[in-house]
């Protein structure tokens, strides 16, 4: 894969900046939601939706589309902002995130939201779902690739490891797992709440090809996804090292912004940094 031209990288960086602004506005208006873990996955979503995924926002059920499953469903605001920007639905919907009567539920809901493949929120289920999609693609001899984004804290769920075994056992090289490794969960640092390290060697031991990258470096992410595409006979995992609350200095690395929306004053302060 040729590397992206610098102008394209700059353009994508600006998209990421605009998406952060959108996410913060959505969350402030909703008065609740998961700020830190939405801001940490912005570049991952930009790299996938703006570069890697073969998809058609005007035809969300296109059979040959690549799939994306947001296993860490609480990152929904970032995904909604990305989908709206691409034209999956009217961006006006973003203002009604989490509101009574609004389309955009607090966590992804496939029956109402174009572009959402499966409902998520209760953690640990997305990798299994992705494996099922991958098995279907293999049966259909389809080149479709399945991307699934997990939280690092989410890998504390036992089902993730059941699914990790399944993907390796069935040689699902069309599955690309991504871990948003922001090192924090609601109650604190993963290292203190429930240590998951050494995470790379765990996945390798489970039979996965593991690639680590800076989760905010767009060319790095795209290169990692390109590399995953070349792996045959086993699933691959991108450990994306990220910063929770990325892009807003007073939120970065702060556990208190896991499940709390910005106030109006915090939003204004954040927008000054992002504009």
């Amino acid at each position: 894969m040729p590397s992206l031209p610098e102008t394209k990288v700059l353009e994508l960086k600006d998209v990421a900046r605009q998406l952060r602004i959108e996410v913060l506005r959505m969350l402030t208006r909703a008065k609740s939601g998961h700020t830190g873990g939405s801001l940490s996955i912005i570049e991952i979503l930009v790299a996938l939706y703006m570069v890697k995924l073969r998809h058609d926002p005007k035809n969300p059920r296109w059979a040959e589309r690549d799939r994306f499953v947001l296993s860490k469903g609480h990152g929904a605001p970032a995904l909604y902002a990305t989908l709206a920007r691409l034209g999956y639905f009217d961006p006006a919907e973003l203002l009604n995130l989490r509101k009574f009567g609004g389309m955009l539920q607090g966590h992804p809901y496939n029956l109402t939201t174009p572009g959402i493949e499966i409902s998520t929120g209760s953690l640990g289920q997305g990798l299994s779902v992705a494996n099922g999609m991958a098995l279907a693609a293999k049966l259909d001899k389809s080149p479709v690739r399945i991307y699934v984004l997990m939280g690092d804290g989410e890998t504390q769920e036992g089902q993730i490891w059941e699914a990790a075994m399944t993907a390796a056992h069935y040689k699902l090289d069309n599955v690309c797992g991504i871990i948003d490794a922001n090192k924090l969960q609601i109650d604190g640092c993963l290292c203190q709440i429930m240590n998951i390290e050494p995470i790379a060697s765990k996945w390798e031991a489970f039979g996965w090809q593991v690639i680590e990258t800076d989760g905010h470096d767009l060319p790095g992410l795209i290169a990692a996804f390109d590399q995953c595409e070349q792996v045959k006979g086993k699933p691959s995992l991108v450990i994306a090292h990220t910063i929770k609350g990325k892009g807003v200095s007073f939120m970065e690395g702060k556990v208190q912004y896991h499940g709390v929306a910005p106030t109006e004053a915090e939003l204004e302060k954040a927008l000054v940094e992002l504009r």
Binding site: S128, G132, L135, L139, E162, A163, T166, H169
Partner: protein
């Protein structure tokens, strides 16, 4: 009722038949394929069978992914593991996401026998009944199993829970039988009381009907093979026309068929009701028939309940 068939055996056979007709059918199991009889499908269509190992949560959500990509997914294991172990996966990835997955569980109720309480599901209907978008089918015999599975593949795209048994049971229906989801099957008409039964208790209800007939008592027998959505019309007609209802299920009286019937009649047509089932207890080891007797899940127990409820009706 001379012939006996295992509901799980008929399930295994019909899966192979449907697999030949429909290349979109896939089957998943969690290391119990010889017991659930999905091994027949596995032998016939190895590329469409996925053994997920002893990982029920992963199995359910994997099936959801297959269904989300257009497959008709069957998942099978024992009822206790399918519904209890993987309840949240069924809730979120199947029901809330509305995926075309048929959860077909075997080894329900105390007739699991010797394996004891850890393997006897007496709470599974209650667990599944509380989930929006979930339907529940409990076939009364092998023929109804086959017909119901065919119906669900050809007519439904929603999640469904089908409850099968370990043992063989007397054949009630003939090959002309047509399963209709949501419709109670009137097996015998009667006027003094109605017995509404499911699964293994249907043949026992029919035995009870014969015994009561000899004593001049006329009992209506309904096979409520669709527990959800339940046939309210048939229940209300039974309430109005016979004035007394006995329910019979190899399941806890909490949350199962008895509860479902109670909900309908107490809101719309209160009549006397007696629920036969497990009375808020775990099972024990033993031979299946001995356990059914021990827990009062027999034709004799149904006869006794019918007589009691008719006596209460006359006093009222």
């Amino acid at each position: 009722m001379t012939q006996s068939l295992g509901t799980r055996d008929c399930y295994g056979d019909v899966l192979v038949k449907l697999g030949q007709q429909n290349p979109n059918i896939v089957v998943l199991d969690a290391d119990l394929s010889c017991s659930t009889r999905t091994e027949k499908f596995a032998k016939a269509f190895p590329e469409r069978f996925f053994n997920i190992g002893i990982a029920e949560q992963d199995m359910i959500a994997t099936a959801a992914g297959l269904a989300a990509s257009g497959k008709i997914a069957f998942v099978s294991t024992f009822a206790v593991f399918a519904t209890g172990r993987a309840w949240d996966q069924i809730r979120q990835s199947l029901c809330y996401s509305m995926q075309n997955v048929k959860v077909v569980a075997t080894h329900s109720g105390v007739t699991v026998g010797e394996d004891s309480a850890t393997h006897q599901a007496n709470e599974d209907i209650a667990l599944m009944r509380s989930l929006p978008n979930m339907s529940i089918v409990v076939p009364a015999d092998g023929i109804e199993t086959e017909k119901a599975i065919e119906y669900l593949v050809n007519n439904e795209k929603c999640p469904v829970y089908v409850r099968l048994s370990r043992g063989k049971s007397p054949v009630i229906f003939d090959s002309q039988y047509r399963f209709q989801k949501g419709k109670a099957v009137l097996l015998e008409d009667g006027s003094d009381a109605t017995v509404i039964a499911i699964g293994t208790m249907v043949s026992r209800a029919m035995q009870a009907q014969q015994m009561l007939k000899k004593e001049g008592i006329s009992v209506r027998i309904l096979n409520m093979s669709t527990v959800k959505p339940i046939d309210q019309g048939a229940i209300l007609a039974a309430a109005q026309e016979t004035g007394a209802i006995v329910t019979a299920e190899e399941h806890s009286v909490i949350g199962g068929l008895g509860s479902a019937v109670a909900e309908v009649i107490s809101e719309q047509c209160p009549v006397l009701l007696k629920r036969i089932g497990l009375n808020d207890c775990f099972g024990i080891s033993g031979d299946a028939e001995k356990l059914l007797t021990h827990y009062g899940l027999t034709a004799e127990a149904i006869v006794k309940a019918v007589k009691e409820i008719i006596a209460r009706k006359r006093k009222a």
